[in-house]
């Protein structure tokens, strides 16, 4: 395949960015999208031009490092697929492919296609855990969890933290990411003691960084792990309730 790439290049966080056009001949359709970028980069290096910086690691669609806007779509044209699992057979000879970083002010650009997603870590830090210090755990089968509950928690927990939901959202909202973790932990019996505190802290931390949700649903369409919008409903309900539950003595009712 012979492709033309239009890639966002930006030297650093404060530098001005611009699109640059690259000719990419000789691309095989069995290559992954990132292998195509590897080839373009290696050719550029040999020519003495600095390669395009992009984030990636496992290349199995699970670490959540990679994430590119490809022709305006987060993770590109294939549904339920992270950028690293996208293959060139999804494109045609002669295509022009526009490649950008996630577009969200809460994910500032570090360089080229690499963005800073540390705001996600701040949300987890605020409450995305169950406080169970090592050594204090009861025997595992003392806490039965209905299969349906465990499965729903697992569906939510499958989030890889890539940021596509934010990149795809017209408001740069992080509801889907936050709700996935809230739902994973709030559904489980082990998560009940911290349920109301968790949701309140996570939502309010999220709101410090990200935009508001107006129910576009772009996030779930872009999500490589098919995290459902239902989680956002659950989070909103729990957040509302937390305002009562978290009042003094509220937990006793």
């Amino acid at each position: 395949m012979h492709l033309t790439l239009q890639v966002w290049r930006q030297q650093g966080p404060d530098a001005e960015g611009r699109f640059e056009t690259y000719d990419a001949p000789g691309i095989g359709e069995d290559m992954s999208f990132l292998e195509m970028l590897d080839i373009v980069n290696e050719r550029m290096e040999i020519e003495g031009r600095e390669p395009i910086a992009f984030d990636h690691d496992c290349r199995e669609g699970i670490c959540g490092s990679c994430g590119l806007m490809i022709n305006g779509r987060a993770h590109g044209p294939q549904a339920s697929t992270a950028t690293c699992q996208l293959h060139m057979r999804e494109f045609s000879d002669g295509d022009v492919i526009v490649i950008e970083p996630w577009r969200a002010t809460s994910f500032p650009i570090i360089r080229d296609l690499v963005v800073d997603r540390s705001a996600f870590d701040r949300i987890i830090e605020a409450g995305g855990y169950i406080g169970a210090p090592t050594g204090a755990a009861p025997e595992a089968n003392l806490i039965p969890v209905p299969k349906a509950t465990a499965d729903a928690a697992m569906d939510a927990a499958a989030c890889i933290g890539c940021g596509a939901c934010v990149g795809a959202c017209p408001n740069s909202a992080a509801q889907l990411f936050t709700a996935a973790k809230v739902a994973h932990l709030n559904l489980l019996p082990q998560g009940q003691p911290e349920r109301w505190r968790r949701v309140e802290r996570m939502v309010e931390t999220m709101e410090q960084y990200f935009g508001s949700c107006t129910n576009h649903g772009e996030c779930t369409a872009a999500c490589p792990k098919d995290i459902s919008l239902d989680n956002i409903a659950l989070m909103n309900r729990d957040y509302l309730l937390s305002k009562f539950r978290n009042r003094k003595l509220g937990a006793q009712r």
Partner: protein
């Protein structure tokens, strides 16, 4: 260098850990905050250690080169985690898990460590469940298990095909809770480039900030390395692209002995490379072999499509050679058998580099729906990568490197030969001998991080109460900083013609050819020469563009590939020295008449721990292995 002291406790093996915990010194709760512990790497072992040490009250500084601690390669483990809970009432026990692991490791691991691992496996499941890891459940709400990797009992806990992800997120969340409490100081996008010693003890590390290139020193009372394995030395492996040996290799260069470097595990069910540009290989769960049948065309150079070959023209070589185990022989046996067929000209696929894994018989027997239920996600992944539909045409598979049993030598306390320097998880050599069983890597990482090092580190720290850390302004730090900066400057000053990736690929080809699934003295000697001459080219003909004060991914890779070169030579040397076939290490000269591995317990029942020398050949130190509980026997799968 004194004789290696593994510090194995005395007494009956089931009391070792208890006795040892009682005999170790403690640090009183209010004094723990007076100690700073550096943890490098935040995968399963590192994040669990950082979280637990912080919960205990130590001040922890944690480091990861990822943008978030949630991205370590532990996340990619699919299958599950073993524990001897005996929930299935099928006769499992701590002793049986211990026995299976020692035997599976082909009698090249330390019994005492493995016994402790089997004991702790039970607590790991309790701990992870309490954290909210969504393990698979039965309808009654209790935990589900599956059998895995040929084990005769069902002891593997799992969270769909994403067990590693869920366990890592559990440890990551526990650590982030401590970050929020201010007890863990987490440094992301920060790569450790050297360890700093004073008076022979580890007193800190030197790092590079990957975003602005700043070289920084960090001091602590002890340093814990949990930086994973080195499969990427082969270039193509199932490891994540950034996985590397640098942290443990730099520690090795400072004096930590490196044990059994040649033990590398090759997994039989990976998707074959599609062309030269392939950047990594993708693993598919071993469970596929439960129902898939492996075959190649009966005669060499037969390029007809699989559907055109009738039964009599197919060779189900595993079923033919190993009637008892058939397609379920262990990983090393299955991998080597595939290589033999492909080397014999029977490889399939466009590059003739695979063997078929065929589900047509299973589809007839079980029906497509049941096959979809069992393997649907794997089939989807295969189709996404290859563009072929495995419900219609047989899958193609080929072995790939995916785990390294070798690593820094550690004693029973997980301390390396440098006082104050610890190694956990895949970064150490300790528990898997010469072959790791499925679903035991996650177990080891978490055992080391949650339950071993938090105890054993106190024994080292206690006598240092009141001692301040060596300040990062001390000349020992300044010297190491200067050498790290000089290395960066050297890469950038070269004006060669080759990229880092080119060198890495070429190195990988040499190593895969001669130090892969089958090794021979001639091949290994040649590999050492080839690697050395390629390294000379690397030192002169490399080209790295850009600057050291910005994000520069090529510069990061240059240092890692440099260390891979040095490691590769040591791997070949170790493989050359080990004149036997054991576990994942197969020497062509040491096989039975029918091509099976021949172990030599008489002469090689030891751990080979190597020192480093820049100009001379390294010296090997032996830790002799004793098998008081599991009598060595020859494995047979016929």
């Amino acid at each position: 260098m004194p004789k290696l002291d593994a510090k194995v406790p005395s007494g009956p093996i089931r009391e070792h850990w208890d006795n040892h915990r009682f005999s170790m010194k403690l640090v009183n709760p209010s004094n723990k905050r007076r100690f700073t512990v550096i943890v490098v790497g935040t995968g399963l072992a590192g994040a669990s250690a950082a979280a637990t040490l912080a919960e205990l009250g130590y001040r922890v500084k944690a480091f990861t080169y990822h943008d978030s601690a949630r991205r370590a390669h532990s996340i990619a483990a699919q299958g599950g985690i073993n524990a001897s809970k005996n929930y299935q009432n099928d006769g499992d026990s701590i002793y049986r898990l211990f026995y299976d692991t020692v035997k599976g490791g082909d009698y090249r691991s330390r019994e005492s460590n493995v016994y402790r691992l089997a004991q702790l496996s039970v607590e790991i499941i309790d701990q992870c469940t309490a954290q909210g890891v969504p393990f698979a459940r039965e309808y009654g709400g209790l935990l589900a298990n599956r059998s895995f990797g040929g084990a005769q009992v069902s002891r593997t806990f799992y969270a769909r095909g994403q067990t590693g992800q869920q366990l890592l997120l559990g440890a990551y969340q526990a650590m982030m809770r401590q970050v929020n409490l201010g007890t863990v100081d987490l440094h992301t996008q920060t790569e450790m480039l050297d360890v700093v010693l004073k008076d022979g003890r580890a007193v800190g590390i030197v790092t590079r900030d990957l975003l602005n290139g700043e070289i920084q020193s960090h001091s602590g009372h002890a340093v814990v390395l949990a930086t994973g394995g080195y499969s990427n030395v082969y270039y193509l492996s199932t490891n994540a692209m950034k996985c590397n040996v640098t942290a443990i290799w730099r520690a090795h260069r400072r004096g930590a002995l490196f044990a059994n470097p040649c033990y590398t595990q090759i997994h039989p069910t990976c998707i074959p490379a599609s062309d030269e540009s392939q950047s990594k290989l993708t693993l598919m769960s071993e469970s596929l072999r439960n129902d898939g049948r492996i075959w190649v065309p009966g005669r060499a150079d037969d390029t007809r499509s699989p559907g055109d070959l009738v039964e009599s023209e197919r060779d189900y070589y595993l079923e033919r050679r190993y009637p008892a185990f058939g397609n379920l022989v262990p990983r090393d046996v299955a991998s080597r058998a595939a290589k033999l067929e492909i080397d014999g000209g029977k490889g399939v696929g466009p590059l003739r580099n695979g063997v078929y894994l065929d589900f047509s018989e299973a589809m007839d027997r079980l029906g497509e729906e049941l096959v979809r239920q069992r393997y649907g996600n794997l089939f989807d992944m295969y189709q996404r990568i290859t563009g072929e539909n495995p419900y219609e045409v047989p899958m193609r598979i080929y072995p790939a490197v995916h785990y390294t049993m070798g690593g820094l030598w550690v004693d029973y306390n997980l301390m390396t030969t440098i006082p104050g320097l610890y190694a956990l998880g895949e970064a150490n050599f300790s528990d898997h001998g010469s072959n790791r069983l499925g679903a035991s890597a996650l177990m080891q990482g978490l055992a080391d991080g949650y339950f071993v090092v938090p105890y054993t580190i106190a024994d080292y720290l206690a006598p240092m109460l009141g001692d301040p850390v060596v300040p990062s302004t001390d000349p020992v730090f300044r010297d190491v900083e200067a050498s790290v900066q000089a290395e960066m400057d050297r890469y950038l000053s070269l004006t060669g013609t080759r990229t880092v990736d080119w060198f890495h690929r070429e190195l990988g080809k040499i190593l895969w050819e001669h130090c892969g699934m089958e090794r021979s003295a001639g091949g290994l000697e040649r590999a050492i020469e080839d690697i050395s001459s390629l390294k000379e080219e690397f030192d002169t003909d490399l080209r790295v563009l850009g600057h050291s004060n910005t994000l520069n991914q090529s510069l990061e890779k240059a240092g890692r590939v440099n260390d891979f070169f040095e490691l590769a030579v040591l791997m070949c040397r170790d493989a050359l020295d080990r004149e036997e076939s054991c576990g994942a290490h197969f020497r062509a000269e040491h096989q039975t008449e029918d091509g099976e591995a021949r172990r030599d317990d008489e002469n090689f029942s030891y751990v080979a721990a190597w020192d480093w020398s820049a100009d001379a050949d390294p010296t090997m130190y032996r830790e002799d292995l004793r098998f008081d509980y599991v009598a060595p026997s020859q494995r047979s799968y016929k």
